[in-house]
């Protein structure tokens, strides 16, 4: 599974930085409180976009084909990982 390594490697420092840190399930932005899952979904989409760009530069995109299946799954996976790391507990 060589294609997993960039993702895993990128996540390790994040996990180390944020482990133990837990934030309120609602975050205040511009005077309103937004639910945690909204931030996680945005984060998942951004991270997947970054991975998409990185994989494109390394010409590794076809390794995780079919993209219609792997990208939504990757987005969900990253969003949930973000939730576990930042908002869980």
């Amino acid at each position: 599974m060589p294609s997993f390594d960039p993702v895993r490697l990128a996540l390790i420092p994040v996990v180390l930085l944020l482990s133990g840190c837990s934030t309120s399930p609602s975050l205040v932005l511009f005077g309103a409180a937004f639910p945690d899952w909204l931030f996680c979904m945005v984060g998942g989409v951004v991270a997947t976009t970054a991975i998409h760009v990185i994989l494109g530069k390394c010409s590794l995109r076809e390794r995780i084909a079919p993209l219609a299946l792997s990208y939504p799954a990757l987005t969900g996976l990253l969003a949930m990982l973000l939730w576990l790391v930042v908002f869980h507990r």
Binding site: S3, P25, S26, A33, M80
Partner: protein, 350 residues
């Protein structure tokens, strides 16, 4: 070509692994959110009391300001005490008057008692006289048979005997009348208890002119000042009990399984989401007003014809007691987020 054919077949495995990992993580996340229910439909709550004077009067002193923090026993309101002081003085003076009156009446009672004693003594005198005239009569009657005395002398002795007997009877009755006429001070002494009760009532009213804080708390909605006429039982302002803070969180009925008093909770305030507070479930609500059903119109229950295919679960307030609240952050009505942790032992913390 052979290489390009092999590549897509091999590269399906990572995609499937990603999907599998995502599904596993989804299961874990769902399990976590089920076991640790959270809600942002929550607000901060504390008990409040209306600060109410118990006596009427003009407010002459009010050493507190709106939103001020006060300690237990601090003076909140002082009402003009003069009328109540006067009432107390009046009641005390009445007690002094009554005490003197009791003394005077006691003296006349003593006189009546002496009078009764003298009436009893005069009964003895009358009895002695009656005995003597009785003896004289008997003696003369014996002599009459022998003819030593005249019939007239015997008649006189009999008259004297009857007269002294009647006198004895009269003096007995007089003694009874005199002893019955002895009055007492009991009624006045009973009045003393009444006046003493009036004094303590006046003292209480005087004490009520000072309204003091019954606990540590914070003043709220104070909209008046010195000079205002305060009517008894009409609230002047509100006092928030800052000793105990609560978060009332409305949880879905589906989340309430396994939640009971003592369940640990983590609380956040939107005023500062960086700070987290520990809490403990104080109690769960056992009643909310149902949206549909329960209404009776013209004597019959009203039932809607429509029915929802998807039913949104009812929310019930769960009262969570906050441990170590930040006094600067906790305000009644502040938005809060509550996460319940029924999986954690309830004995941690305190």
């Amino acid at each position: 070509m052979n290489k390009t054919d092999a590549k897509p077949r091999a590269s399906r495995v990572p995609a499937l692994l990603i999907v599998l990992a995502a599904l596993l993580l989804l299961g874990y996340v769902l399990w976590q959110t089920e076991t640790r229910p959270s809600t942002d439909d929550a607000y901060v709550y504390a008990d409040t009391i209306d600060v109410v004077p118990e006596v009427n009067g003009r407010i002459v002193e009010m050493p507190v300001r709106d939103n001020q923090w006060v300690k237990q026993g601090d003076l909140l309101i002082r009402i003009d005490a003069r009328p109540y002081q006067d009432a107390l003085d009046q009641a005390r003076a009445r007690l002094v008057t009554l005490n003197h009156q009791i003394g005077l009446t006691q003296r006349s009672v003593n006189a009546q008692q002496y009078e009764a004693a003298s009436a009893v003594a005069s009964v003895e005198r009358a009895r002695a006289q009656a005995t003597q005239s009785n003896d004289t009569l008997q003696r003369l009657e014996k002599l009459l048979a022998k003819g030593y005395v005249s019939v007239e002398a015997v008649d006189q002795a009999r008259t004297a005997q009857r007269s002294t007997a009647a006198e004895l009877n009269a003096s007995r009755l007089q003694a009874q009348r005199a002893s019955a006429a002895v009055s007492g001070v009991d009624a006045l002494v009973a009045q003393r208890a009444e006046v003493e009760a009036q004094i303590s009532l006046a003292e209480l009213n005087l004490e009520f002119t000072e309204v003091r804080a019954p606990f540590d708390g914070r003043i709220a909605s104070l909209r008046t000042t010195v000079g205002q006429f305060a009517s008894a039982y009409k609230p002047i302002f509100t006092l928030i009990d800052t000793r105990h803070w609560y978060v009332v969180a409305n949880f879905r009925e589906t989340d309430l399984k396994g939640i009971k008093a003592g369940t640990t909770a983590t609380l956040y305030l939107l005023g500062d989401t960086g700070k987290r507070f520990q809490g403990r479930v104080d109690s769960l609500s056992f009643g909310v007003l149902p949206d549909d059903g329960g209404t009776v119109i013209e004597g019959l229950p009203r039932v809607q014809r429509t029915i929802n295919w998807v039913r949104v679960s009812q929310r019930f307030p769960v009262k969570i007691s906050v441990q170590d609240p930040d006094p600067e952050l906790f305000r009644i009505g502040a938005s809060a987020v509550a996460v319940l942790r029924p999986d954690e032992p309830a004995k941690t913390g305190q």
